[in-house]
């Protein structure tokens, strides 16, 4: 699967550009490149439902980002400035903990099955019961809407809570001091 590695390299480069570039609009476009690469990788690992949702969500994310930048400024003034002491401290601390994290994750990755050999302990039961038990041909839809419908209820709760938060924050008319 050489194309997966190529897309991952592309995503890492685009992510570094997104965090380091001075123009915020360009950063958002780089973020969109990462997101659409994620959608293509979902297709390559046989997850078409995820690819559809990822494309829709990615377009919405970029539209929201561009709307915010359009109303404010698109220059990141903090890029060219001299590094303050606290900034250098945070970079050093981050490097230290990132190194610890990578060592821990290399040890942890020995525990999970290698790429391409997923163990299907729970999933084999869902696949067996999917069509007769839940009645849907798409097993992902069976899992989210029948076997684990409570998770989806929680998801809807979080989504509507965030919508209420956005609506409360964005309204321009309100109590003035």
């Amino acid at each position: 699967m050489i194309e997966l590695y190529l897309f991952l390299v592309f995503m890492i480069v685009a992510a570094i550009i997104a965090t380091e570039i001075k123009d915020l609009l360009a950063a958002v476009i780089s973020l969109g490149a990462v997101g659409f690469s994620v959608a293509i990788m979902f297709i390559l690992v046989q997850a078409p439902d995820l690819a559809i949702v990822q494309i829709v969500v990615e377009v919405l994310t970029i539209v929201i980002f561009v709307a915010v930048i359009f109303r404010t400024t698109h220059i990141d003034e903090t890029i060219g400035k001299k590094l303050a002491g606290s900034h250098i401290f945070s970079i050093v601390t981050f490097s230290f903990f990132a190194l610890l994290f990578i060592i821990a994750i290399i040890n942890a990755l020995h525990e999970i099955p290698a790429f391409g050999n997923a163990t299907m302990r729970v999933a084999s039961e869902y696949i067996r019961l999917g069509l007769p038990g839940a009645g849907g041909a798409n097993l992902v839809a069976d899992v989210i809407l029948d076997f684990r419908a409570l998770d989806t209820l929680g998801e809807a709760t979080v989504l509507f809570t965030s919508v209420i938060g956005v609506a409360a924050l964005i309204r321009s008319v309100g109590r003035t001091k």
């Binding site: 995503m11 997850a47 995820l50 990755l109 979080v158 989504l159 924050l169």
Partner: protein
């Protein structure tokens, strides 16, 4: 193994943006990068080489599917990521309207 580690590197780039960047939009971009990395890692863990997408197209077809459970979990997580990103950007917009800057050091100075 290498492919999982690449996802972790993408995660760490996002974490770097959150921890060390001083621009609020860059911090939100870091959160979005972390969400992509985690979603991708889950979808990659559930992959089985040579298997099909988990959709039953014939009644008595052999069950050679990739793992549907990580896909269901990620489907939930993608939508929640959109909600949190929209909420964060709204807060950032309100902060800009009040302080006229994205620099968190300037915002800290202007407080009170």
């Amino acid at each position: 193994m290498i492919i999982f580690l690449s996802c972790i590197i993408l995660f760490l780039i996002g974490l770097y943006a959150i921890v060390t960047k001083r621009n609020l939009i860059k911090i939100v971009i870091g959160f979005a990068l972390i969400e992509y990395a985690i979603n991708l890692l889950f979808a990659l863990i559930g992959f089985r080489s040579g298997m099909l997408a988990p959709i039953i197209t014939k009644v008595d077809m052999p069950h050679k599917f990739v793992d549907p459970i990580p896909q269901a979990l990620v489907l939930t997580a993608i939508v929640i990521a959109l909600g949190t990103t929209a909420l964060m950007l709204t807060v950032v917009l309100r902060i800009y309207n009040r302080y006229k800057t994205f620099d968190i050091a300037e915002i800290r100075k202007l407080k009170g």
